[in-house]
Symmetry: C2
Subunit: 335 residues, 2 copies
């Protein structure tokens, strides 16, 4: 049976507020039109949601996994897919490229360059370390890697460098200063690398990072409590709908647990008039209620981190009040 | 292509060491034979794995979700399934019971009793709060709820009470004392409730909890770094296999991130000769290597918490060294 209202949903269920989502998509496309935004699909993992971003004018997308690239291309969203990540085996990417999608892969070493060539991928960007201790080559070595890539027959489209150590800083002035420092490194590398793309950024620096020429933001469409601290113009659109299953004298329990919520950013948030989270178990949140609830009451839980939350679910139900108006299958899980 | 060795696996991939797993199953069934163990499937979410537990003599199982009950019954594992959890809508459970499986549901309130009856479930246990602030009725009210349940036509099979506040205590003497105090409450309730079942326990109290007559342990078959602190006789059998994708001067990066690992218990562990985890991103672990690795090296990561880790994956690959000897599909995800 297709659920028509939230009352028809088995809980825990991932729900998306349609008005907040539409606001987020419109706000971002007004700020970063067309190719200025390369939406990152890793947070949302849904081709149905990505199609809404394309309808808003964004035809180029960022992916974090090979699976995401495959599923995006199969869904007809393969105009320009950047795998913003290193891979050691690029054969599945090469197969997607051979099917007609435009595939660009990040490389930061001779090994990942060789993997791209061996896998049949024809285009790359040089991933540059701009301060986050993760992937990326040192800025002063980027040009030599680009030379090697071109010598190996790859089209080097430019550079990328993710300022992940910056995007979550709640102090906007510090975010600006740190972002500029990171992008100085990226632009320095870009001088040596060449190409059209200077790809960087995320939801937390979407309006700060004016140095990159495309921004890889994804979380903005759904939001979470971590990004909410940054006072961005995006609204919380993602919730885990849960049901109160047990009520005691001093606490209550609803059925959204840590298997329905990414927990790396800590506990989720309940509405102030519902109560305060005490702790999460596998299938439960124990909370101190603001007013005594009844077993069967529904509670909307706000996740602390959108990405690992979405990855636990197979569907996002799009809601207008309690009516279900659409659904976004989470069709890019796994690797 | 069916993978024959771990080299054929796309990473991150969940792998189970066959020898450690077999050791764990044998060790537990020697300690708690047959119906003394009611394996909890929530940690492992695989009917193939549950069949290995049944082969070891355990025919009765514990579930945490309605989905787990449905899938276990459909796999022919429905001899005696206890949903050790409250539900407000029991219609899907009633449908499973009508198909011939034996279904028992936990109740702790008039509302969950009414839901069981309305949903067509015929058997219940009274869930008793034994100290963990989660579900369960106060011990002194359990008898009255049992009376109401019998008056409503339910077969009340006994009591359950999970000492979840005890099972992780690394001090064994304290675990024993706290377990006894919790089980005092459960036995007090059992006097008033009656029935055959006194169901409790977990991996951390499997050999301590001699008051319950069946133990709901599940994690023992795979283990994690949290349970490993308890000095139990079970071996670490579960790993996330990853690939080194980037190497810098002072750190390296492998491709097992927080979307492949439950993070509520903190960071995963790397082998000492591989290095120390710095932090986890969505798709990466940044670590300080013990010796400089090469891009392409494989790393086995030990999860901090088995349950939410398994729930991110669709398959556990069973390995003997680097050979793949079996697979356990993770077929009980979702709700």
């Amino acid at each position: 049976m297709t659920p028509r209202t939230t009352a028809d949903l088995t809980t825990p269920a991932l729900v998306v507020d349609a008005a907040a989502f539409d606001h987020n998509i419109a706000t971002m496309s007004a700020a970063l039109a067309g190719a200025r935004l390369r939406p990152h699909v890793k947070a949302t993992k849904s081709t149905a949601l990505a199609k809404r971003q394309r309808e808003a004018g964004h035809t180029n997308f960022t992916c974090a996994t090979v699976r995401e690239v495959e599923v995006m291309a199969a869904a007809g969203l393969g105009d320009d897919l950047l795998l913003a990540n290193e891979v050691v085996d690029a054969r599945r990417l090469g197969a997607v490229a051979a099917s007609g999608a435009r595939i660009t892969v990040a490389i930061d070493s001779a090994a990942t360059l060789a993997a791209a060539v061996a896998g049949g991928v024809h285009e790359c960007v040089i991933d540059v370390n701009v301060g986050l201790p993760r992937c990326g080559i040192a800025p002063d070595k980027a040009g030599a890697l680009a030379d090697d890539a071109r010598a190996a027959g790859l089209n080097v489209r430019g550079v990328m460098g993710y300022e992940g150590h910056v995007v979550g800083n709640p102090d906007r002035a510090m975010r600006v200063a740190q972002c500029e420092a990171a992008m100085d490194l990226l632009l320095q590398a870009h001088k040596d690398v060449g190409g059209d793309l200077v790809s960087a950024g995320g939801t937390g620096t979407y309006d700060i990072n004016t140095w990159a020429n495309e921004i890889q933001a994804g979380s903005y469409s759904l939001m979470d409590t971590a990004y909410d601290k940054l006072e961005l113009p995006f609204k919380q659109a993602l919730f885990v709908l849960s049901t109160v299953v047990s009520v005691s004298d001093s606490f209550a329990v609803c059925d959204a647990g840590l298997k329905s919520l990414g927990m790396d950013h800590g506990n989720p948030l309940l509405p102030a008039d519902v109560g305060e989270v005490w702790f999460c178990s596998d299938e439960h949140i124990t909370y101190g209620p603001a007013a005594t609830p009844a077993v069967g009451d529904r509670v909307r839980v706000t996740p602390a981190h959108v990405d690992p939350t979405v990855a636990y679910h197979d569907t996002m139900w799009v809601t207008d009040g309690e009516s279900i108006v659409d659904q976004f299958p989470v069709d890019m899980r796994g690797w």
